[in-house]
């Protein structure tokens, strides 16, 4: 690969200039919000599909299944939704340059996310139907699985943010990483609330 051209001193100097002419962190945040809006359309598509299947299918529930247990998923929901407030506190700590408070609350958020995923795994293992059990089984695992993938991504992002907080001068160029992670986590939460209403409350 020819990288000589990309690292000429002139270009590096002007790259620096670009970063200051245009607020790079603002661009990143704007781009990230645009991306999340686009990502939410995938969920809207799945939700729309679920609603249509549920309203029009003649044999909605697979044989021998009467519905979904709601108690444990509700606890899970409460944990996940409260974690949004915890990550907000972490963000405030970082804003005040209190790194240890930030790390503590970030780890708490991660723990709550992991609790949610474990609860989800436990529920999956105990369900009497699989993802090939008609469109009900298919949509259930598709929605919870795709959301679970996002929770995992969120936890991964937080792990990176946690490790990066140990790098000196990490926040000299702004706090885009943690702001984006936090926004992503709120997004995952809102999606879950809609999902919970559709799958568990509307039975």
């Amino acid at each position: 690969m020819d990288t000589q051209l990309n690292t000429s001193p002139v270009q590096e100097a002007s790259h620096h200039a670009v970063a200051h002419e245009h607020d790079a962190e603002g661009n990143s945040m704007f781009g990230f919000i645009v991306f999340l809006l686009s990502e939410s359309v995938i969920f809207l598509g799945f939700f729309g599909g679920y609603i249509i299947y549920k309203l029009t299918s003649t044999n909605w529930l697979p044989e021998g299944v009467s519905g979904l247990e709601t108690r444990e998923p509700l606890i899970n929901t409460i944990v996940l939704v409260s974690s949004s407030f915890v990550i907000y506190v972490a963000e405030r700590f970082l804003h005040d340059k209190k790194l240890w408070g930030f790390r503590l609350f970030l780890i708490t958020t991660m723990a709550m996310g992991i609790y949610f995923l474990l609860g989800q795994a436990k529920e999956w293992s105990e369900l009497p139907f699989g993802f090939t059990s008609g469109v009900f089984g298919g949509t259930f695992y598709l929605l919870t699985g795709f959301h679970g993938l996002h929770v995992m991504t969120g936890i991964l992002l937080m792990t990176i943010m946690l490790l990066r907080s140990f790098i000196p001068h990490n926040y000299d160029n702004g706090e885009f990483g943690i702001k984006a992670t936090s926004l992503f986590w709120h997004f995952v939460d809102v999606i879950w609330i809609i999902l919970f209403l559709l799958l568990y409350v509307w039975q």
């Binding site: 690969m1 020819d2 990288t3 051209l5 990309n6 000429s8 001193p9 002139v10 270009q11 100097a13 002007s14 200039a17 670009v18 200051h20 002419e21 245009h22 607020d23 603002g26 661009n27 990143s28 704007f30 781009g31 645009v34 991306f35 809006l37 686009s38 990502e39 939410s40 359309v41 995938i42 809207l44 598509g45 799945f46 599909g49 249509i52 299947y53 029009t56 299918s57 003649t58 044999n59 993802f131 090939t132 008609g134 469109v135 089984g137 298919g138 949509t139 598709l142 795709f146």
Partner: protein, 558 residues
């Protein structure tokens, strides 16, 4: 925002465009290099898709299925459609926009240069995956470019790695690449404009790119959702779209067309932008009704999300729904008609110069108007049901995607070729290319309309002998069209290597991209321009920017 001139390191040479061809094979983050990478890669696939089309038309020159096996024929039309849309139209338009948008809005690069490069390098991956499907047992997907279930769920070989699987994978990766691009374009256009470059000082082309990329953002995820579900049906045994197991194949059609109809506007909107750039230059007149043209792009963006069911009038769609979508589909003709009116008014009494980009743009406009008329016919439910799945539909959309979009793309390539390469193309070869392409395209695609009205279904390898006349005409047109690519390649390769040196502003055009050298330096502008005028100030004799040199509007004649 302040203007910080690029500080030169002592002894450094001024930044210049890449001289080394190897740059184009590297992971460059320069938007101009990436733009050309996109354009060249997509043109290679244009030839691949064209080769498939030649086989299709070769088969159809006789009524019997005698040239290739029917499974090969099915694979050919599937791959022709897929390659032409996902590997020619989308990437070539993204390439053009990549090259032009930062220059036109006065930015040094896109907002996210590395994301830009990653998005580009996914395109060859998509191409390799699709081509690899020729090597798997059972060959490539045979379900057409729209991959409707249950046909797409058949999987005759029963293997995990089959043509349909690779097709879905390729389309999904292409979607990821397009979303990355769309995030980048929207952010760049919203946040990176030069001082003074207000919304209504942006060239119409930038407006159309913004409109098109917003469609990608809201439409593509729907296709992704449908593709994920189809992939699970095909591979993991779910039953979302399998009617035998309680699934709903029509739901896939909704997912597919919710994106794939607006995708037509992703293709045609930037071409509208190209028209809006080229006509004023070669008519020496300001773009008629610039603000209305600009806003009508956004109106198309909104309306295009509300028309998709017109592809499904014959898919058991209830009457009330047909009525609504017939109305919205016809409504989209209004902003489109406004644009056509504006271009005609721009040309009216202009001092026309029929250079190659101008004749291509004019030819594309004529073919677009024709496709618009058949489009309105198809929007009407009774007509649509009569010609559903016939060659009439094929003729209509080939007038759009070849007649308007690809011819418009050629117009754009010729128009900005001197800027991109610093060399002039050969005018004579350009005119030859135009006439071969224009005659070939009309001879190829016009006969499809009478064929469709007579009832010839699409996607068949053999047909009733009563259809032979128009099919032979179409095939001859297709071969002419295939040959028209030769003068194009000779012209561009030859001119890039040995063409006459191009001045900064060979067309005496108005626009920020014509202020910089040909080819533009790395980082585009020594000093970020401060824009003080609306675009298209032809005949107004006013400066475009407050700092820097004036445009060479009078100097370079001819």
């Amino acid at each position: 925002m302040t203007n910080i001139p690029v500080e030169m390191a002592p002894g450094a040479t001024p930044p210049h465009a890449p001289q080394n061809w190897r740059t184009y094979f590297s992971f460059s983050t320069d938007h101009k290099v990436i733009g050309i990478q996109y354009l060249v890669t997509s043109f290679v696939f244009f030839m691949v898709g064209g080769f498939f089309a030649m086989i299709i038309r070769g088969e159809l020159i006789t009524p019997e299925a005698d040239l290739v096996d029917r499974t090969v024929y099915n694979a050919m039309f599937t791959m022709h459609g897929t390659v032409m849309l996902f590997l020619w139209m989308f990437p070539s338009l993204v390439g053009l926009a990549n090259y032009l948008v930062p220059l036109m809005i006065g930015a040094r690069d896109m907002a996210f240069p590395r994301l830009n490069a990653v998005a580009f390098w996914m395109v060859p991956v998509v191409g390799i995956l699709l081509m690899a499907s020729f090597l798997v047992p059972g060959g490539p997907s045979q379900s057409g470019w729209w991959a409707y279930p249950p046909v797409s769920l058949q999987n005759p070989t029963g293997k995990l790695l089959n043509g349909q699987f690779l097709w879905l994978l390729a389309v999904a990766i292409s979607g990821v690449s397009s979303i990355m691009g769309a995030v980048n374009f929207v952010t760049t256009i919203v946040k990176m404009r030069a001082p003074g470059m207000t919304w209504f000082r942006m060239p119409a082309y930038v407006w159309t790119v913004l409109s098109a990329q917003i469609i990608q953002l809201y439409g593509l995820p729907a296709l992704t959702a449908g593709a994920v579900m189809l992939l699970m049906d095909l591979t993991f045994g779910t039953s979302f779209f399998d009617p035998a197991k309680g699934g709903q194949p029509v739901l896939f059609q909704h997912f597919f067309w919710f994106y794939s109809h607006p995708a037509v506007y992703v293709i045609i909107l930037p071409i509208f932008g190209v028209f809006s750039e080229i006509f004023p230059v070669f008519a020496r007149k300001p773009l008629f009704g610039y603000k209305v043209v600009a806003v009508s792009s956004i109106i198309i963006t909104v309306l295009s999300g509300m028309v998709w069911v017109h592809h499904m009038f014959a898919s058991g769609t209830p009457g009330w729904m047909r009525m609504i979508f017939m109305f919205t589909t016809m409504a989209i003709a209004v902003p489109t008609g406004i644009k056509v009116f504006a271009w005609v008014a721009t040309l009216w009494r202009g001092k026309l110069r029929l250079t190659t980009p101008m004749v291509f743009a004019l030819g594309a406009l004529v073919m677009f108007v024709f496709s618009g008329v058949t489009g309105i016919m198809l929007a009407a439910v009774p007509v649509d049901i009569h010609v559903n799945n016939t060659y009439f539909v094929v003729g209509h959309f080939h007038y759009v995607v070849f007649g308007a979009a690809t011819m418009g793309m050629f117009a754009a390539i010729y128009h900005w070729f001197p800027k991109m390469t610093g060399r002039m193309y050969n005018e004579g070869l350009g005119q030859v290319h135009f006439w071969l392409a224009f005659i070939g395209a009309n001879l190829n695609f016009f006969p499809m309309h009478p064929l469709g009205l007579m009832g010839m279904p699409r996607r068949v390898a053999s047909y009733d002998p009563e259809f032979i006349f128009w099919n032979v005409a179409a095939s001859l047109g297709a071969f002419l069209l295939g040959m028209s690519t030769l003068p194009f390649i000779v012209n561009l390769v030859g001119s890039w290597l040995q063409g006459k040196k191009a001045p900064d502003n060979p067309w005496r055009a108005i626009g920020l991209e014509w202020l910089v050298s040909s080819p533009p330096p790395v980082e585009n502008f020594e000093e970020i321009p401060v824009v003080i005028a609306e675009p298209y100030g032809y005949g107004r004799n006013e400066p475009l920017i407050a700092n820097g040199k004036a445009l060479e509007l009078e100097a370079a004649e001819g």
